[in-house]
């Protein structure tokens, strides 16, 4: 199953959207930078974090449809009839998904670098970004896997993914700062896990504080650790549910 990663077409096409976002969206809103906060030097640099996260977000939802495909095609049954450890089947799936997200993230970061986005915290900052994204991807894959195992319908997973993705993304700090939003949305954004994760990814890239008012602050550990806590919490719940549902499907 891990070998599916080698299908380069899949990696490429799922990258289409983030790349278009990166190339066009950032150009479209390039003038927005100066309204967002004094510290925002370039909108591209600001939005890179949001695009990286959005990619992880939608990529993670593919896990659920993939597992539905495995069930429907009989691939899962075929593997279950071999002596392979049951949980290895699930973790293999998760690992390959995380691996894919990491590859995609690296491609986006390289592209952003070509567009002039230099990491304020250097290579270590980028490693932290990749680690955070991988962690987020893992937790979020759990949601889609659980949905896939529960509903056994790719359409349902897609539907829920579509319904959830954009509201969560737009009511977050993925593409604008909190100060730019109406106040009700600000309060939603504060509790939106996407905002929390995106802030933790943005800090190493821009080197600014959460509201982008002060820059050159280095690592903002408060933001980063808070994000890890929230992602970890989501991960425990979603992966727990996945494990539980997987056991039910397997028995």
């Amino acid at each position: 199953m891990k070998k599916l990663v080698r299908n380069p077409i899949l990696v490429f096409f799922s990258l289409f959207q983030p790349i278009i976002f990166l190339l066009l969206f950032t150009q479209l809103f390039s003038g927005l930078g100066r309204f967002l906060g004094a510290g925002v030097l370039s909108y591209t640099a600001f939005a890179t974090a949001g695009i990286v996260l959005q990619n992880a977000f939608s990529s993670a939802f593919q896990s659920g449809t993939a597992v539905v495909d495995d069930i429907k095609s009989g691939f899962l049954s075929k593997m279950l009839a071999t002596p392979v450890n049951r949980s290895a089947i699930l973790f293999g799936r998760l690992l390959s998904d995380v691996f894919r997200v990491v590859v995609q993230t690296v491609i986006i970061l390289v592209l952003a670098y070509a567009l002039g986005v230099y990491p304020a915290t250097g290579a270590i900052g980028y490693l932290l970004v990749i680690f955070t994204v991988a962690f987020f991807g893992l937790a979020w894959s759990g949601i889609s896997l659980a949905l896939g195992l529960k509903t056994k319908s790719a359409e349902t997973v897609f539907g829920i993914a579509g319904a959830v993705t954009f509201p969560l993304l737009f009511m977050s700090t993925a593409l604008v700062t909190a100060g730019f939003m109406p106040s009700w949305m600000q309060s939603v954004s504060t509790f939106n896990p996407v905002s929390i994760a995106v802030n933790a990814i943005r800090n190493p890239i821009t080197g600014c504080n959460v509201n982008q008012t002060i820059c050159n602050v280095g690592f903002d550990w408060n933001t980063i650790l808070q994000a890890f806590g929230v992602i970890g919490g989501i991960g425990i719940v979603t992966l727990g549910a996945t494990l539980y549902l997987f056991r039910k499907v397997v028995s």
């Binding site: 070998k3 299908n7 993939a66 009989g74 075929k78 593997m79 009839a81 071999t82 002596p83």
Partner: protein, 337 residues
């Protein structure tokens, strides 16, 4: 002596209350070619899933090679090969890679895998296409590859759930020829299929299941003998319009005027009558129906086949489904993502 597969009073009730298997018992001897037949929904797949440790039974007992399907599932998985109804090959991988992957899933050593894979590619005649992606294979080639993946670890027992459904006659014949060869090499084969002539030719023993129960078991010869009669197939004109009524009247005629008839069952076109020396009865039958003003469209006599055995025990003819959309998908390939 206990069989290599032993099933006793096996029951499976699904969560929604459906009783798929209602206490079946049978046993398969080592080295046997065992057919498991039944109409759709009879409980065949459920039974195979329990025996291959993919599904937990509700009650009763089932063992494979003396190992319990509950407590020794991991050990069973090492010695069985399982082919599902669907053809499952990874189309992004080549034929060879598919086999190697399966060897890895079976936790074999790399050198052993390499040797075995080369051997298998020859056995299923895929050596030439070994390094092409399976996505480019024809339906028959995919099925052969799928069969080969179940053999990588030299299983003692092979479970096959409708391995030839949806294949063209030539590919089907090829698969059966491989199975025959494997069986001669000592592999026990447990198979469900809808192709009765092949079962007749290859299976040493078979069981017929219907509605979750075994209605007959024995060798093809025994089962056919049990019918002990030729079958006379009667087709009525207008049987589609008032078939029920015509059948009812015809049954009355048969009951009143013939005493050598052993059984009468409904068929698609009318009735099937079982009687000794059936051919001698034909003139009398024609006369009797003529007098009763029941118009016959066809009349045919044949010595018993497994299909008759099947019909007698399940009230249905086994029917090979036309190439349906599902099968077409299997033939032209399904993309895995």
């Amino acid at each position: 002596m206990p069989g290599i597969i032993d099933v006793s009073q096996l029951v499976k009730t699904y969560g929604d209350g459906t009783k798929a298997v209602k206490g079946i018992s049978f046993s398969v001897n080592e080295g046997e070619f065992f057919g498991f037949l039944g109409p759709n929904g009879a409980g065949k797949s459920t039974t195979i899933k329990i025996l291959t440790t993919l599904l937990q039974k509700t009650s009763g007992s089932a063992s494979v090679a003396g190992l319990s399907v509950d407590s020794d599932a991991p050990k069973i998985r090492k010695i069985i090969g399982v082919q599902n109804q669907d053809t499952v090959v990874d189309e992004d991988l080549t034929g060879r890679e598919n086999l190697v992957l399966q060897g890895q899933l079976q936790q074999m050593h790399a050198t052993a895998i390499k040797e075995r894979v080369d051997e298998l590619l020859k056995i299923v005649d895929l050596a030439d296409a070994a390094d092409k992606r399976a996505g480019f294979y024809s339906g028959g080639m995919k099925k052969r590859l799928d069969l080969a993946t179940t053999l990588v670890h030299n299983p003692k027992i092979l479970f096959l759930d409708e391995p030839t459904t949806g294949l063209d006659p030539q590919s089907r014949a090829a698969i059966w020829a491989y199975l025959k060869k494997l069986n001669e090499q000592g592999i026990t084969i447990f198979i469900t299929t809808q192709y009765l002539e092949e079962v007749d030719r290859l299976c040493r023993r078979l069981a017929i299941v219907d509605l979750g129960e075994i209605v007959a078991q024995g060798s093809p010869g025994e089962l056919k003998q049990e019918i002990g009669a030729d079958s006379i197939s009667l087709g009525f004109e207008n049987s589609s319009m008032n078939g029920g009524d015509t059948r009812k009247r015809a049954r009355e005629v048969l009951q009143n005027r013939f005493d050598r008839i052993s059984n009468v069952v409904d068929s698609d076109i009318g009735l099937t009558v079982y009687a000794k020396n059936g051919s001698y009865m034909v003139p009398e039958l024609v006369r009797a129906f003529d007098e009763a003003q029941i118009r016959l469209s066809t009349i045919g006599v044949s010595s018993p086949t497994l299909d008759d055995v099947f019909l007698k025990h399940t009230g249905k003819r086994i029917r090979v489904e036309e190439i349906s959309s599902a099968n077409m998908r299997g033939m032209f390939g399904r993309r895995r993502r």
